[in-house]
Symmetry: C2
Subunit: 506 residues, 2 copies
């Protein structure tokens, strides 16, 4: 493909994206898909001869788009946001166009240095402790990881290696494998699946401690667990706390956890993948309590900062603890500034060797939106969630399961789990909005999350109308079915409650 | 930013990339950089108000580009290629514009299904064994990982967990930590640093066995090591062989290694990050020998397939071995087709939870280049390396260190290591071409690798002229310096040899 064709293809693709994003509300957020529908529409081999890019864009429109779940739609209210922005999309284009890798400083100096800059920008923007800045005197700094999972795994593995070294120094009578066999880590039973997975990958059990009634993990629970483990000869390594759990956006109590971690010399990592964005807001300053006492922290920029996946910020209080654990080197990776300055070789801060120039999209996004734009985006999500929360509380057929937290509202139709499951099933079949359910203490509930790059109050109205009208339809249908068969006794208690509630709320 | 501005920014960025790539030969491949040069030119905080995208592109041109090493330049001859193409660059734009994640089938069906399609396309194109195809009956299939490091780590971790389970079944008298403490893995001393790192991360020692004189690891060496280990109570887990080592592109002997692995029930993984591209060529069919007997395999698409980083293909003979090891689930990740069909949920095939729609750029690249275009690209790199090899052999001051392999020529100025080091230092200071050195058996040498998306015979001429003229200049300078001080005795033997050789070759 020559540059003229590249230009045409590029411009057509920009138009393709504009068409897609500007009309995204016209599509069902969920596809009408059955497994292998897309596979079966495509040829079984690479075409022998090149095809024109117009053919590819045509198939993208007619075969691929209809099979996608539209993550950028405001009707995507599942998981947590994976938002994007014009600056970030163009950023990815430029990253690919420039095409450099940045595993060491020499292999593309500006790639490493721009990452140093934007990670310090972000740390200041989020009002993180000074020691997390590259510009600070100490060994702290930030790095872009591919995902929160990788950030957590890096913390877990580095903490593990540090623990092995230090425990063997104080207990030379134990072999390395004896030490490794006694290691143990901690998190809450509300933490993300990636934390349990990190334990599996690290071959170190992670005890998922019971969160309180309010779904918060506190120091006293951790202390009890550590004391039990120490008493039985185990070696506590790391606690992974969460600010903004996936289920309900609960905030673990970092202050009491850090007191315990300091007492037992346990690494404290904070997974703030979602809630981290709110650190930037004065009105959420409580969320930052205790962060000056943690060893490492991660935050996903696609969740609140409008930088598209993949881009997970991670800060380390002492990056040497990771570098010392991960550094394996070869002569072809050495360069003359290595070790002579404090400029990081980020390959030692992460799992893989290769790394993309992700700092570029962060830089472009931050500059084209400005700090004010970024804060406004977080505030907008909070406001829209408040709007949704009000709609829930005004309808007596529904109940909140946990207090609204940032852009997440956890709610359910009153009654038993079956109604929640049936309502969600109905919504999924209609494909107009996409939510997922969660469960706590035997109660299933729905998670409504404000997502998308440009959600509006009318989108919240749309979602709510869909949800409440489908509950009405569900209850009416089942009531009719029961009356028709004369089998009124089959109407379970929960349906009766619902119909009554609904009549009251009309 | 509204869509009109997005369009303008997008079009301007397409032009930016065209300007950059079409004039890339005019830039020094290495930047004139000292640590912190870029950091010091940039502000210390995110701007409070949004800036116009024109300002950002201006700074990209004037601050960032001069600090980059230009990986897409044909004068980049270091490491291995990280090539791109028009289709792949636009592919990244479309991936970001569409903005979906694909960790499970339901969360974006076409994202998973297109990956199934392109991985089967690629497996057929590379003539891999049938059992690696999703379309085959068995539990095999391919997945896109972020990097070769991650692919290797996935194999190492899955093999480790499989070994623990199966060994504990046959030796119930041992505790889990006793078993884990006895695990051991194998690779060659020529393998990539990511393999040693995988051992560190997996907390499992990887023995780097001595490759032969020809830098090839063979079954007999592995067998000896395994027998020693078994005799001393250790548990052999996995052997990571390489097709195309980083140093010299040596090919481990897969057939004899697989015989040993089968005998001792050891997982055999092949890291074909570079050489995998040549599987597609009939004239390189020898490289595929034994692949029908390996458990897993990885190949980097940015090395030969013109799909930009990140994109590492990995195939598994039995994907369940990974899924069973990595599967930790939560209710919010469950969906109705899970387990009901063979459609994969790729989150269980990899380290992180989140994943980008990388299959899209593969699909676009493959269709716009065609199978013929892809094969021609690999053949072109081989031809250009042959051209370089001839230039080396015609100049009697130089010697080949290993046979040319694919697009890599390993060579050195005759004499001791000091000349090689000084020549490379000189080339690095001039910044016209970029090579790195490697070392084997005490001998340092230079690696000339054909890279870039569009290298030509004239680029090879350019590089060679730079190299040989700098050797001439180096030798002349040192000879003059010695004569000037009258200190002819300081001329070491190697310089004399070189001057003589050069005179002969004129």
């Amino acid at each position: 493909m020559d540059f003229d064709e590249f230009r045409e293809f590029g411009h057509a693709s920009i138009e393709f994206i504009i068409n897609y994003l500007s009309s995204i509300r016209e599509r069902n957020v969920l596809p009408n898909a059955v497994p292998y529908a897309v596979v079966n529409q495509l040829p079984k081999e690479i075409p022998e001869q090149p095809e024109h890019w117009r053919e590819v864009l045509k198939d993208l429109e007619s075969i691929i788009l209809p099979g996608l779940t539209h993550w950028q739609s405001p009707y995507f209210n599942a998981f947590y946001p994976s938002s994007s922005s014009a600056g970030s999309i163009i950023g990815e284009l430029l990253i690919a166009g420039i095409g450099v890798l940045g595993f060491s400083w020499i292999c593309s100096p500006a790639c490493t240095e721009l990452e140093v800059v934007v990670m310090d920008w972000l740390a200041k923007f989020l009002k993180l402790p000074e020691h997390f800045l590259h510009a600070s005197e100490g060994p702290g700094g930030g790095v872009i990881q591919g995902s929160a999972s990788e950030a957590v795994l890096v913390a877990v593995l580095a903490a593990r290696e540090q623990a092995v070294v230090s425990y063997r120094e104080s207990h030379p009578e134990l072999s390395e494998s004896e030490v490794r066999g006694r290691l143990v880590a901690y998190s809450s039973d509300q933490s993300n699946s990636c934390i349990e997975k990190a334990g599996v990958l690290a071959a170190m059990p992670i005890r998922l401690l019971p969160a309180g009634e309010d779904l918060v993990l506190r120091g006293e629970t951790l202390k009890k667990a550590i004391e039990e483990d120490v008493a039985s000869g185990r070696i506590p390594v790391i606690c992974i706390a969460t600010l903004g759990t996936t289920g309900t956006c609960a905030y673990d109590d970092i202050e009491t956890l850090s007191t315990v971690c300091e007492e037992f010399k346990v690494w404290l990592h904070v997974d703030a993948a979602y809630a981290g964005g709110a650190f930037a807001l004065e009105e959420c300053s409580d969320l930052r309590k205790g962060l000056d006492r943690v060893d490492s922290l991660n935050f996903n920029l696609h969740k609140f900062m409008l930088v598209n996946f993949d881009c997970s910020a991670m800060w380390l209080r002492d990056a040497n603890k990771v570098v010392d654990s991960f550094n394996v080197d070869r002569i072809y990776l050495k360069h003359k500034h290595e070790g002579q300055s404090q400029i990081p070789d980020f390959r030692h801060w992460q799992i893989p060797l290769g790394r993309r120039f992700r700092a570029l999209k962060v830089w472009i996004t931050f500059r084209t939106l400005g700090a004010e734009g970024l804060r406004n985006h977080v505030r907008k999500h909070i406001e829209l969630a408040k709007q949704f929360e009000e709609l829930v509380t005004k309808d007596s057929r529904f109940e909140l399961v946990a207090p609204r937290a940032l852009g997440l509202v956890c709610f359910r139709p009153k009654g038993d789990n079956e109604i929640t499951a049936q309502l969600l099933h109905r919504l999924m079949e209609r494909k107009k909005i996409y939510m997922v359910k969660a469960e706590h203490a035997g109660r299933q509930f729905l998670r409504f999350v404000v997502c998308g790059m440009d959600s509006k109050p009318s989108d919240i109205e749309f979602a709510w109308t869909e949800i409440e009208s489908q509950l009405t339809a569900l209850l009416t249908e089942q009531s009719l079915a029961a009356r028709k068969t004369g089998n009124v006794a089959d109407l379970t208690q929960h349906f009766k409650i619902h119909l009554n509630d609904h009549e009251k709320s009309q």
